[in-house]
């Protein structure tokens, strides 16, 4: 399945958000996620199914003014 992760197409096998994050290298990372523009809290990642063409944003703490 191909999904758009932070603006780049990525291939993944996981069917849910939690598994996809693991597969993409975010294991134990402090990140927040949004799927197709909607915030997905940590507690809902397991139950959030992914579909071909989904847009996933994975954000982390960063410098800011």
């Amino acid at each position: 399945m191909k999904i758009l992760v932070n603006g780049a197409w990525r291939e993944g096998r996981a069917a849910n958000l939690s598994g996809m994050l693991e597969e993409l290298g975010y294991r134990d990372a402090v990140v927040s996620t949004a799927l197709n523009g909607e915030f997905v809290p940590v507690r809902e990642r397991e139950a959030t199914a992914l579909r071909e063409g989904d847009r996933l944003e994975v954000l982390a703490p960063m410098q800011g003014g």
Partner: protein, 257 residues
Amino acid sequence: MLQLYQGAVRSRLLLGSARYPSPAVLAQAVRAARAEIVTVSLRRESGGERSGQAFWSLIRELGVRVLPNTAGCHSVKEAVTTAHMAREVFGTPWIKLEVIGEDDTLQPDVFGLTEAARILGAEGYEVFPYTTEDLVVAEKLLAAGCRVLMPWGAPIGSGRGLNNLLGLRTLRAHFPGVPLIIDAGLGLPSHAAQALELGFDAVLVNTAVAQAADPVKMAAAFAQAVEAGRAACEAGPIESRDFASPSTPVPGTALLR
């Protein structure tokens, strides 16, 4: 002490965490500024580099309160969603709410800002809105639940200081009990001192420190300026006047003509 919602801080200098030459310099600057509140953001994280994880470790080691922003958001939806994501990551109800309306000046879209503030306030967020000096907008933000306002001094990163002195003085006079933090546009410690002298409760500085030739020294200079400005405000400055008023007593002056 400065009361900001449920939090009380001693330092009236808030520091941004962006644009420093290195993480080490950022850490030194935060210490030199004696800042207790540091602004942060959320940005895309790569599963390979995981640079955000290192940044977050650094901030936590500094032991400061974080004030996450919604920088880069141009709509109510973007700002509200970013606030939701920030609360989960940073574990704070504080949010520095930015809804940008114009890209050349990074002027806030005050209509979107007010709407986003209302939504987030109802959800229990403690909103620090990045706004202009407009009195009516300030009224609307307070009505939307904001208990702190962050009027701009000048466009973000411009270093121009307090652009609209009359407007800012009017804002201060109109809302004597509301914590007002000058956010954006300060370039020099003297700008910060001026803001505090005028009665503003605090300033937020980023570029002026981070992009200085010696950010750590500049951070210390801003800290001193903020302390001096606050002390001057508490000491009760004299009124300015158009004509001279002799400081040396006139009675007793010798007649030597």
